[in-house]
Symmetry: C2
Subunit: 254 residues, 2 copies
Amino acid sequence: MDPFRSLLLLSSLFSVAAPHSILQISPGSRRHGDRSAWKGDELYCDSWRFSVETNDAGIWTQVPERCVGFVREYMTGERYASDCGMVSNNSMSFAGGVKIAGDGKDAWIFDIDETLLSNLPYYAAHGFGSEVFDETAYNEWANLADAPAIPASLMLYNVLKRLKFKLILLTGRTEVQRNATAKNLLLAGYSNWERLILRGIDDVGKPALVYKSHKRAELEGEGYRIHGNSVELCSCDSVALSYGNRRQFSSLWA
Amino acid sequence: MDPFRSLLLLSSLFSVAAPHSILQISPGSRRHGDRSAWKGDELYCDSWRFSVETNDAGIWTQVPERCVGFVREYMTGERYASDCGMVSNNSMSFAGGVKIAGDGKDAWIFDIDETLLSNLPYYAAHGFGSEVFDETAYNEWANLADAPAIPASLMLYNVLKRLKFKLILLTGRTEVQRNATAKNLLLAGYSNWERLILRGIDDVGKPALVYKSHKRAELEGEGYRIHGNSVELCSCDSVALSYGNRRQFSSLWA
């Protein structure tokens, strides 16, 4: 894969000057109605999004049909990028105040999907979360190693690296996806992580909260001081949320 | 105090048909600029609000000056009411599926400020969170027992009561505020709570998370099954948040 294609895709996804250009990738995603059709649902859908993000919506599997247009606008317009930028800036500001001991144990954890990498192209081609989640198709997409970086995350990642944090990637992906994941991360611009932790055979089926808490405890047992934990850095993962990967932690542990 | 005054105030605060009527209470709150002045900041302020609500903003004390107009619009327009309604509906839906044992131990916990009661009139008169928090003035306001109910919360409260949940109120207010608090709750339309728990002398100064976790553990020790915990039910407490009372728990424990 051409890394410049990735950058180009990325800039088309997040450009404020040309929002909605994601639609050029997948004209099929237009089928859920135009702006005028969903505009009347905006208040409802914004509240729905909020209740999801704050874990108040309970168990759900698909974006409500009436909110598909809203989610598309949110994700492909300037709001998602703005929300990502805000959290990234807050994280950088916090990180700048952390004293680095120099013993190589000051760590920052990153999730991967919808944190370092965006699966928006996949979701754009699959109804923006309105379709029943298809694990086979999703894994095929992941194996392409073609997911773009989220620009705000890439900036945060690089700043933390310059600040001498050890960057530990902790993902719900499984070991069989290690090669594709590492390849994708490199192509998207990430490099020099300290460790890439994926689910081993024993971890499959564990709830994310249990699995990740366990891994963090192991890291602390090795002497790491975990200063930050960026999970779904960008605020609305309505799209990713249809995958059941809800926000679990603050990105800052102040 | 005339309870009807409270109801009237309440309807003027949350009516979708006549948003912004809160401003009639305190013309002084207009001083932070008109809509056109803050409109350009809307994207930034919406992201700021989101980072606050998801506990990603770190420690902060005042609403940024550029976002005061945004917060005013959010709180006094239809968005806050809509967000409250969504969480209330989700909570009711969840509660309806809970099997009540009939032994009087099925409980639901409510916070008070910015959950059952709204302090919006106070904040509207004090710059919508842009002023440094004045504990003395705030306590004087609380002692007036004049805070209106949040309509969506009142509806949830009454539905839970009919469903035979034991309603336990757990607040960061102190015992010296017990009488004013109970009076305010009754005047705002709440009744028949099982217990009203306030901070005792030993609890003053404890972080809310510690104090409330301890009280919940005590309740469970008494045999209560806590099915729900409504804290800052309504999504944006940007106003209340200037008081440092950030969202800590999901309103649903599914």
